[in-house]
Structures are given as C-alpha cells and as structure tokens.
Subunit: 419 residues, 2 copies
C-alpha cells in the first residue's frame, strides 16, 4: 500500500507575526496521523497572493492532500479563495446552496445579510462546497490530477467541526488508507517522568509494531499506543491485553481508556451512581465549575457552586468559621475542609469539593509559597483533603488544581460514597 | 532600506504527527516581528535528512535569516547538526569550549558525562558556537553569501533564553533593521463583518504604509495596524490620529488600544473607580468568574460568585422568586435580572452580573432555541438586561456570553455606576 502524504498549510499574517498561536495545524496533524495519513510538511504563509500561490505549488509537488486553514474571512486581507480560483484556473461565482446556508445562518440570529457576507457564498466554480454549519465561510474541496486541496476556515471550532464531519469522511472515501489503530490510556495525578518510571517494564514489553507516545497537559498525561498492521482484530486484542497489563504499574492514576477527558468520565460515574455534586472555589476562581459544566448534560449532577474569592463570602455563603480563617488562614486544610462541607450542606448535594490556594504570581509567603494549594472532597462519610504544590504560571496552577480535585472526587466515588 | 526577511524552520516528527504543539515558531515569529525582521514563511519538517536539506535550500532562497529550532538532541533521530554540516560542506569536530561547557553542565548536576552527551559538544567547523547555559546542546550561527542560518535547541525555555541573550543581539549587529510598529484596537460586542462595514470609510483612509488586519476570536475582534517606516515618531502620531478617527465609526465597541484583554481593562476600571463585582452564573457555569479571576490581583475587586445551575440554587443562594421561575422560566429577562440583583445584594458588591441561557447542544425549544441567552448587570441605579443569540458550539456560546457580559459591565461603568 502506498503512503498517502499530506501537507498542512496555514494562511495568515497574524501567524507569521506571532500574534496568533497556530493550533489549527497542530490539530489537523494529529487527526491525519490518527487515520494513517502521513504529514510530510507544515507551512505557514502570510496574506500575500504570490506567497500563497507558491506555497500551493510546492505543497502539490510534495503531497497527495493539501490541507489549508485560514484566509476565508469576508475582508480584503482574506486571500485563500481568490488564490485557489487562480491556481485552479476557474471563476468565482455565488453558490446557490451556500447562499441559502449563509442567509439562513444570519436569519437564525435575527441579523441582516450584508453584501460582505453574501460574498462568502461565492465559490470557485471548480470546487465542491464543504458545509460549515458553525460559520459563514464554506470549505472547499478541489480534486485535480490525483491531488486534493481542502480549504477550511481559520476559526478553530469551525475548522474542527469540518475536519470531523466532512474532511475525514471524504479523505477516507477518496484514498485507500492503511490500517492504523490507536489506544488511549488516560491518567491524572502523576507527572510525565514519574509515570514513565513506573511503567518502564510495561513499556519495554511493547512489541515493535506498537509505538507509545506520552502526551502531557494540565488535564493529565495521555498515553497513546499506535499500531500499524493488516489485522484490526489482532490489534484490538493486543490493545486489550496492554490495557490490562499496565494496571499493576499505574492503576490508581488511570481514569480511562478512551479520549474522554476526566470531567466526562466523572460525569458518567456521577450519573451511574445517582450522585450530585457542588463546588466551593477559592483559588480556582470558577475553573472547576467551568470544567464540570463544559460537559453537555452536566446539569443532571452538578447543582452549582460558590466562588468564594473574598473571606467574607467564605463565611457568609459557605459557613466557614471566622475563627478558622483567623487561626489557620484561607489557604489551609481546615478552611478548605469547611468550604467543602459547607457547600455540600447548603446546596444539598451528595458530594462537595473545595479549593483554596495561592495561584500566583503574587501572594506567596515563605511558609505558603505560590503554588501551595489545598483541595477537599466531602461526602456523608466525612471529608478528605490533599495538599498540592505546583510551581507554574497562574493559569497552569489553576488548571492543574482542577484536574487534581476532579480526580479526588473520582477516587472517592470509586471507594463508595454512599456505602 | 531593504526589508530583512526571515524564515522559521521547526524540525521534529513529534510536531508533524500532532504530538507536540509548536510554540517555538510562534515565539520566534513574535520576537522577529518586534525587531522589524519580516517573517515570510514558517515551515515544519520531520526527522528526515532529505526533507531537512530541501527545507534549508528553500528557506535560503526566500530569506536572509533562517531560524531553526529542534533536532539538536543527542539521539540518532536528531539530524539538524549533521544536515547543517552537509549543507555548508564542512566537517564536525569537538569544539573545546563547548566541551568545557557541557562537562561543567553535568558536573554541576552531579552527573557523569556520557559519550552521547560528549558528542553534543561536536560542532560543524564552519559555524560559530552559540552558548546555551540552560542545556547541553549549543546553538550554531552560519554566515555565508549574505545569508545567516541560526540553529537553536527545541526545548522551549532553552530556545527562549538563546533568542533573548544571543540571537537578537547578533541579528541587530549583523543587519540594518527598519522601524516597524503595531497598534492594537480591541473591540467587543460586534462580529467581524459588521465591524468591517462600520469602519469601511476609516479603513479606506489608511495610508499605503499602514496595513490593517482583523483578528477575530470569542474574546472579540482585534484590529491590528502595522506600519513600516523610518521615523518612529511619525508612525506614533499617525497611530494616535487613527485611534481617534475610528471612534465615530465604532466607538462603543472599542475597549482598548493595547493588547490587554477585556477582563484586564475591566479590572483596571474597577480598581480606578473603587468598585466591587460579583457574578451569578447559570449557562456560563463558572466561565465568567474564571475569566475575571484569570487576572492576577482580581481579588481586589471580585468578591465571588454563585454558579446556580439548578433552579433550587437560584432560589436559595440568589433569592430568585420561585414564581418568576415558574412563570417565565430560568432563561428569561425576569430571572436573569433577579439573579444579578440577588448576587449584588447578598455579596454586598457595587455591581452584580448574571447569565442565563441555553448553551447547547441540547435543551433548546422552538421559542428558546440553543444559543438564546440573557445577561444582566445590576448596580445601585437598577438593572440592565440584554438578550443574546449565538448559534455555535457549547463552549463557544459560553465564551461569547462571557465577553458580552464583561462588555456590558464596562459600558455600565463608563456611564457611571455611582453617579
């Protein structure tokens, strides 16, 4: 089987000038890798016709598929569409279906269609339109001399939706791809190098056709197994065995074997056990609640929270004892425990969690340096606390704390909250 | 003055396969932009000799400076150094000063120098060594036929240190750089195409040496002016005039002329006016609070919030009337107004804001489709509400709502909260 090669092209001055971080190319890379398309090059060019046209020609010489993001907006600095029309030698005209879609998009939002927006429905005559239900710029699919060009909007969520629902299915139909399989092993509560040490014997036991990657983030370290082969059933059995054989090395840190993040796994556990949750947040400032409620349907188990930034709110809205605050301070085991107990009681939930710490960059002391954080989880059996220490930037500390507190709830539920 | 052009080249399979997000190229882009070097292309290639050599030649044909990160590790898949030696046609041998540095690096950490590490001190004979005090791989500087190649390690903090302390000073000495300047104009509460229509006459008045870019995101549309010239003072005056002349077209939407996001601008306004803020969040589920508290020092004006996901919490923790909920529903002007008034009163703040809506993907009805969102802002003078309609993905709806509610507070403060 011949390898199908892809080149990823991002268009935009804002990328070249370092004002916008290009996460699109990264996302598209990962998605192509998953389906067995080999990315051979990534390029970024500015909003400049000559540069864009040259990049098209170079990409076509190297790859079977050219995946382009950006430059589809309605304004004069958006050049991808006219460049594609020029490159493929065809005119641009209003695409009736696209016009219907963009008109409907604006009608639904109770807004009038401007002439600029109307022009977004104009497409090169030699392309197939790719529907963009989340935005006004349709995608484009060109197929000539065995090479495919795909143009997608630069707005990340529009691009992601298009890749998932349109681009990947079309690539699968258009090309013969090798059998490639992935297995996720999701962990939380342990850093990359510590995890690597723990699972070293397991990693050494991997057969040569299975490759392991460590993908660390604030939401935990993902382990991803990738296998190439001809027999999907054999790979499936091998993955199954590996998901079992890693447990003796890292069992307590593993929260799932799918790509579901911790908040989704936790949500499923809460629904399954019929449990409700509330939160009392100090240093995380709403990020724990935001993460929980980022899951559709979370209202089934999450009743709400109090973000108690000020001590007065900790006392008034959560019932924390003012003596506790005076004696131990806001960043203490005693305070965080009272916060968790307080929110559980006042909100009438099965579980109450709490965070209190110094997210930084200021506010640290010699005894409690920046990154000192207490978390707690209360249920009918009592309250469990943990002291964390992170030494990163404010936002990273906040996100790491969120992962830790969600993992604390997960472990607590596994032990049995209602037993 | 001739423009000095740069190309940025990142080397590594982990980038092409979507395992590691390439923040290096983004950082180097921004730093080059700041000193007036024009980045004309960014490319990423894998750990493959032929691809790397081709990328070198292409980059040299387009740019005066080629900035390479990655591929300097001690293992066999790190190919940047042998490729550079081949490209410049010279041998590789141990660099005595580099060997001293790497030996010292290991000695300080109480570790022995392995043969692999020793080889990191071997450099192409035709380059100048660039010191890397934070790691074991030195950087390299090649200068041939008026073109400069710079090779830097892929480890981000090592690369950043090298750019700041070695690469930028060398580039400044080696090239004559033009004056380049940027001016940000930050907006909220208006989409890209509507903004473009409103400011069209202003945009048409821009002189040819000033370029305008639209940078839309959930946090609002950024307008960025870029000017090239010889006279920084003249550019500064032009920018100043343009920041004034845009006001008649888009004044109410403009919240700032720096890169500060809305939550930072709002925080400064609250501090300046001595005002405090609290929030009652339903559909945003904590994201408003998270955004406000992402700003260091926000505890000076943000006391806290109630995330009232369940109706029972809206009643109990915010004092929303159960009749209001029964008659109008949770997603209504009446409910969101009572939420804002309730949190302001209970938390004792000058301003209380609230959100209630259907973030999606489920929960919509014909009368209240997904994306129907009410926001409110209460102060001593009363409560102001707005109905929003977004039809994006859940997380985008949440983020757009956050921007809208922060902007509502900003406009409210501008009118005068305490007057």
């Amino acid at each position: 089987m011949t390898t199908v090669k892809a080149e990823i092209l991002a268009v935009g001055d804002e990328l070249l000038y370092g004002q916008t971080l290009d996460t699109n190319s990264h996302y598209i890379s990962g998605e192509m890798d998953k389906i067995g398309v080999r990315v051979v090059r990534r390029s970024t060019v500015g909003d400049n016709e000559a540069d864009i046209l040259k990049a098209f020609a170079e990409a076509e010489s190297r790859a079977d598929i050219v995946l382009i993001s950006g430059g589809l907006g309605p304004t004069s600095d958006d050049l991808t569409k006219p460049c594609l029309a020029k490159y493929f030698g065809c005119g641009i005209r209003i695409h009736e279906e696209a016009l219907k879609e963009v008109t409907e998009f604006f009608r639904k939002r109770g807004r009038e269609l401007t002439e600029l927006n109307r022009q977004q429905a104009a497409l090169p005559e030699c392309c197939e339109k790719i529907t963009n239900p989340l935005g006004t710029a349709p995608g484009m699919w060109f197929d000539r001399n065995g090479k495919v060009f795909v143009s997608m909007p630069g707005v990340p969520h529009e691009m992601v939706h298009m890749v998932q629902h349109e681009v990947i299915p079309r690539i699968r139909r258009r090309f013969t791809l090798p059998v490639i399989a992935h297995q996720m092993i999701r962990t939380a509560g342990i850093g990359e190098s510590f995890l690597a040490e723990k699972i070293a014997p397991w990693e050494e036991s991997l057969p040569p056709h299975i490759h392991l990657a460590y993908l660390p983030s604030e939401a935990g370290v993902k382990l991803r197994l990738t296998a190439f082969g001809d027999d999907p059933e054999k790979i499936r059995r091998e993955f199954e065995a590996l998901c079992q054989s890693i447990l003796p090395y890292a069992g307590p840190y593993i929260f799932g074997f799918t790509d579901d993040p911790l908040e989704v796994v936790l949500g499923k556990m809460l629904i399954e056990k019929g449990l409700t949750l509330s939160a009392a947040e100090s240093c995380t400032g709403g990020h724990v609640s935001h993460t929980i409620t980022s899951v559709p349907g979370s209202s089934a188990y999450f009743l709400g929270s109090v973000v108690a930034y000020a001590n007065a709110i900790k006392i008034k809205a959560l019932g924390v004892n003012s003596d506790t605050l005076a004696q131990y301070g806001a960043v203490s085991e005693q305070t965080v425990a009272e916060m968790a107990i307080g929110v559980r009681q006042r909100f009438g939930t099965d579980i109450g969690v709490a965070t209190s710490g110094i997210a930084g960059p200021d506010g640290g002391t010699p005894e409690k340096p920046v990154g000192t954080i207490w978390i707690a989880c209360a249920d009918r059996n009592g309250v469990e606390t943990r002291k964390l220490h992170f030494a990163s930037a404010r936002l990273v500390n906040i996100k790491l704390t969120t992962t830790s507190v969600l993992n604390l709830v997960r472990l607590r539920i596994k032990k049995g909250v209602k037993d």
